[in-house]
């Protein structure tokens, strides 16, 4: 490259820098315009159930479900669910855009910076914070007060108001939390009972029992094919994933990776850097060394690992209550026969203190209403409607919002989906008894319970497609244990439920990656367990200390 050309490169570089900075400014002013152009919402009838006359347009951002099969002539933008909203509420739902769940967060961010957000969309806690800071959202305090029905208000604060509180900023309600039961994140120990019987093993009541079973499943040829090809535990590359992760082992040593927990002095500390972690890592490393874990687990995902389950090579797994639906059912139910006998147990502890299962707040996102929206109350009316139709035992009322004429899963299309905060855990108190005594009256007022009851009866009559429901409903099934955890006070809540703090947003992803890398290395015996001590030191100096301080400031203000 000659001198002249080199000068040109320099010019080009400077031009590029200018261009980039210009772009940055453009975004700021776009955001500014939005906040300036806010209007007062038009007032309509105060009756929360009143229809809009004439029907209004309400724009949303939607997620798609590529496997949803539509009835003829219907689509994501034109379907019977949206028709039902026009008919019942006078709200015509217009998706401004739709994208698949994986790309959704990216597209939300693009929407925010381009300054045009739809009337209603679902965002993460971090996005919510940003939207509130930039004054782009409608304050829902008043409309929620006026338009939410008593049933809605009761529904949204079944948990004592924790989830709703997480959507409040300086006492103002800025979003509708996408509620869910936090207990649904509970982990269970799934064990091949047929193998346990065959090898004459005791039930896994303590961690020592679990380790013994794992050892026997690996070495005593439980599938009887004469080869040493089975593993004690299912595992996958994300070691803290709900499905096939190792959180159950950590919890058994009273270690709570990834969660903010109270220490003895009442301050919040980060679970992943507490000394208890080391014991769990040591155990996992020993298991890996003894060949009780798939040696290739760190490159496998659920689907890959499930192949091993289907091939009768896995004896135990940690997973949530829905593990029987996915991914286990594909491996267990083959040609209408249940080929493996799985049993579920509560997490086992290594000492005399029972193991707690770690759970979060249970909110997986926030529904926000744009400040520019002319009818913020429409969001509340949609919320009322969803709560009404999703919790009624009258199938005729619920159907248009849930299923197509050919019984496709249309409920996905609803613009707001909230799940009862005590879903399943409440059902767990009575369902197994109802199934055992074949007495449906015990669950007659419980929508989820009665449908699981029906499925279980079908299963007992030979419908193997209902195996996954049976695993939830049967005596000692997952829902019963979920309730047992609650009665025995064995839920360890993540105490931090705010938006990521400043340092957290900046540094936590790197720290998390480092954590996952080191823990995987230790488990696979590529690093000694003592490396954990160095990690703790690094974690603190690389921003962890600052994050802990910010989290505690947040906690003190709460």
């Amino acid at each position: 490259m000659n001198r002249q050309n080199r000068n040109k490169v320099a010019v080009v570089m400077i031009a590029a820098a200018l261009l980039l900075s210009a772009c940055g400014k453009g975004n700021d002013s776009a955001a500014g315009n939005v906040s300036a152009a806010s209007g007062k919402p038009a007032q309509t009838s105060q009756d929360p159930k009143a229809k809009f006359e004439p029907p209004i347009d309400f724009t949303i951002a939607g997620t798609t479900e590529p496997n949803l099969a539509f009835d003829k002539g219907e689509s994501f933008t034109n379907n019977t669910v949206y028709d039902a909203y026009v008919k019942d509420l006078g709200i015509s739902i217009k998706p401004e855009w739709m994208v698949d769940p994986k790309q959704y967060p990216e597209k939300v961010r693009l929407s925010i910076v381009s300054g045009e957000i739809p009337d209603l969309m679902k965002v993460t806690a971090a996005d919510l914070q940003q939207l509130v800071d930039n004054n782009l959202l409608a304050d829902l305090t008043d409309v929620y007060d006026k338009y939410a029905t008593p049933e809605t208000k009761k529904f949204m604060s079944t948990d004592g108001g924790n989830q709703l509180a997480s959507a409040k900023f300086d006492g103002k309600l800025m979003a509708i939390p996408s509620t869910n039961a936090p207990y649904n994140a509970a982990e269970f120990l799934w064990v091949r009972k047929d193998w346990m019987k065959k090898l004459n093993l005791p039930e896994p009541k303590t961690m020592q029992d679990v380790l013994k079973i794992s050892e026997a499943f690996t070495n005593q040829d439980p599938d009887g094919n004469g080869k040493k090809d089975s593993f004690g535990f299912a595992a996958q590359k994300e070691i803290f994933n709900m499905v096939y992760g190792f959180t159950g082992i950590f919890n058994g040593y009273h270690a709570y990776p990834g969660a903010w927990i109270k220490d003895s002095s009442g301050k919040l500390v980060y679970g992943s850097v507490q000394p208890e972690i080391k014991n769990a890592l040591k155990t996992l490393q020993d298991m890996y060394k003894a060949g009780q874990i798939d040696p290739e687990f760190f490159v496998k995902d659920h689907t890959k690992e499930t192949e091993l389950v289907a091939g009768n090579k896995i004896g135990m797994a940690f997973g949530p209550f829905f593990l029987g639906s996915w991914p286990l059912s594909a491996a267990v139910v083959k040609n209408n026969t249940v080929t493996q006998d799985w049993e579920t147990y509560p997490l086992a502890s290594f000492d005399d203190k029972p193991a707690s299962t770690q759970v979060g707040l249970g909110v997986d996102g926030y529904y926000v209403v744009s400040k520019k929206s002319k009818h913020p109350e429409a969001a509340i009316k949609i919320l009322n409607k969803w709560i009404e139709v999703d919790n009624t035992t009258d199938k005729q009322v619920g159907k248009p919002y849930h299923f197509s004429k050919t019984n496709q899963e249309y409920w996905k299309l609803n613009p707001i989906i909230v799940v009862p905060q005590d879903l399943n855990v409440k059902t767990g108190a009575v369902l197994s008894k109802a199934v055992e005594t074949k007495d449906p009256t015990l669950v007659k007022d419980d929508l989820a319970g009665s449908s699981l009851y029906d499925d279980s009866m079908k299963f007992l009559k030979g419908d193997t497609g209902s195996w996954s429901s049976w695993m939830k409903a049967k005596p000692h099934g997952t829902l019963e244990i979920m309730n047992q955890y609650l009665k025995e006070n064995r839920y360890m809540f993540d105490e931090f439920s705010g938006a990521p703090t400043a340092t957290m947003a900046m540094k936590k992803p790197i720290l998390d990656q480092k954590e996952q890398e080191l823990f995987t290395k230790i488990i696979t015996n590529k690093a000694p367990v003592d490396d954990f001590d160095a990690f703790v030191k690094d974690w603190n100096s690389l921003g962890g200390e600052q994050i802990t301080k910010e989290v505690n400031d947040w906690y003190a203000k709460k």
Partner: protein
């Protein structure tokens, strides 16, 4: 022709061929795996029994795919995109490459123009400015959002530019003496002489348009407008469990069908597979030709 091969040479050739065969095996095995997966029963696929040969041979998944409206629709959009996008690409590439292949005395600011184009190859505004631009120009949710941003493939321009420069200048001069203008020279002399290079850049463009998926996801507002690869991307990716609601698990139970996915992937790869053999004979020829000048 007969070569007399030394012993060492023979050894080298053997080792070389073995190595190349190994590489091509590596490329073709995943493909065969997907094919046999798509032809197997779904229980066999879920159990991981399928390797390189179909287990419990069935064409059920192909029947499903061919009856799946969304798939066929996305396929149709992709075809439109490839035809439209490639024509625009080629037209603009030829129109830009011709003047830039001239000497500085014919086109005074030639170097500056070239740098103007190269610049966009090295730097880009990033995703957000691009999104805002598409939004502001009203291309959002139209097929043009997939075509206009990449209308001028600079790499192809450089390739063709070098190819044009390799053509004998005497042809150009002779045509001018006979009174031909630039357009006539371009279409009657340069283009017919550059079929090899044009085939190459056409192939690049087609494959590029057929395979790109990210722009479809970002610029299309509803799945009805997705091109095929965007559509496929949404069905084969791993679900993020953090956002999984209990009901989603029930849905996953119904839909997690690997044989269907494999069939869709295979059908989606077919068109390019069919085009390759016809264009490939120009291919190697085309890339190399522009690189040597006398």
């Amino acid at each position: 022709m007969v070569y007399r091969l030394s012993w060492g040479r023979k050894l080298f050739v053997t080792a070389n061929y073995a190595f190349l065969c190994l590489i091509s095996l590596l490329c073709i095995i995943p493909f065969i795996h997907i094919l046999s997966l798509s032809l197997s029963s779904s229980t066999a696929a879920a159990a991981g029994l399928v390797k390189l040969w179909p287990v419990e041979l069935t064409f059920a998944s192909y029947q499903n795919v061919l009856n799946k409206q969304e798939f066929l629709h996305a396929f149709w959009i992709s075809l439109q995109r490839v035809v439209l996008g490639t024509s625009v690409n080629i037209l603009l590439t030829v129109l830009i490459a011709y003047p830039l292949s001239k000497e500085i005395r014919d086109l005074r600011w030639r170097t500056k123009y070239v740098w103007f184009f190269i610049f966009t190859m090295l730097f880009s505004g990033g995703l957000i400015p691009l999104y805002v631009t598409i939004k502001a120009t009203g291309l959002m949710d139209t097929i043009w959002a997939l075509i206009v941003p990449g209308a001028v493939p600079i790499f192809n321009v450089v390739l063709l530019l070098n190819f044009f420069r390799g053509l004998p200048r005497e042809l150009d001069e002779a045509a001018r003496i006979d009174g031909a203008g630039h357009f006539l020279i371009l279409w009657k002399i340069y283009v017919p002489l550059s079929v090899a290079a044009l085939a190459t850049v056409t192939l690049f463009s087609m494959v590029g348009h057929w395979n790109s998926w990210f722009d479809g996801l970002i610029f299309m507002n509803s799945p009805e407008h997705y091109p095929l690869q965007s559509f496929l991307q949404t069905i084969v990716i791993q679900r993020d469990l953090r956002f999984l609601k209990p009901e989603d698990a029930e849905l996953l139970k119904v839909v997690s069908d690997r044989t269907n996915n494999a069939a869709q992937i295979f059908v989606a790869a077919l068109p390019i597979l069919l085009v390759y053999p016809f264009l490939q004979r120009f291919f190697i020829h085309g890339i190399v030709l522009g690189s040597v000048k006398e």
